[in-house]
Amino acid sequence: MPDLKPLTALGAAAPRVDIIGALTIAETPNVALASLAARKGQGDAVVEVVKAGLALDLPAAGRSVANTSHRIWWTGPEQWMVEADFTVCELLAEALKSIVGATGSVTEQTDGWCRFDVTGDTVVALFERLCAVDVAMMAVGDATRTSMHHIGCFLIRTDEGVIVIGPRASAGSLHHALVEIAGAIA
């Protein structure tokens, strides 16, 4: 067997961490993702089975929920994204499909996205320069999709700051956008 080493979304062996002024921008690897869409007429049923299987209520529009093993955020009407730790739950889509059965459709998303965790006192100042969403008004747990530097991203407001989930193929451009604006307000 060849000795294969995984690379992070930015192409290095170790995740990148930038500390700029009050902000820390940390690339976060090892994220397993799967999208879930309720099948026709199964919107209530899928909520029931996910609650039984993952002990989480599928969130309403613009919201997210999390426990120690999973995070789920709303992506559209009767559609959600589910996140777990890749090192624990590599086959997230398979596990999720076994939970939802015929009530929902599940699509593997792990390789499509990259994640940056942005923390620090000036996160609102950073994101109000990057996107059109009113980040100052986002409560903890709010999650939305918007574009930053023409890159479509999910933003999830947490206690610590903001989680950015963007397209993995544009990880470098997204990182550049975050670092550039962080430098401008430092």
Binding site: A61, G62, T75, Q79, T144, R145, T146, S147, G152
Partner: protein, 99 residues
Amino acid sequence: MLINHPLLGPRDASEFTYLGDANLLNRPDWQGENAVEAFHDYLYLRDNPAGLHRELWFHEQGDRSWLVVTRNTLTHEILGVEMARDVARNNKRFEGDAQ
């Protein structure tokens, strides 16, 4: 310009793309007697009102919902925003398809 998304609240117009007249939801019956004529009208004939216009917008950089936006083309004032799927399901022609 802000579009007041029915689920997400006011969102910047830059997150949306525009398709056109909301009558595009009313696709003719392809098996109808006058299908050729109906599709010609559906495809090529558009009203171009100076004033109220119902149009389809897509929240591409958001939740990917199609919206029916009622807009005044003279002032750009937005008077109403509905989910296109609700509009389609409320349309009598889609009764058999509604849940």
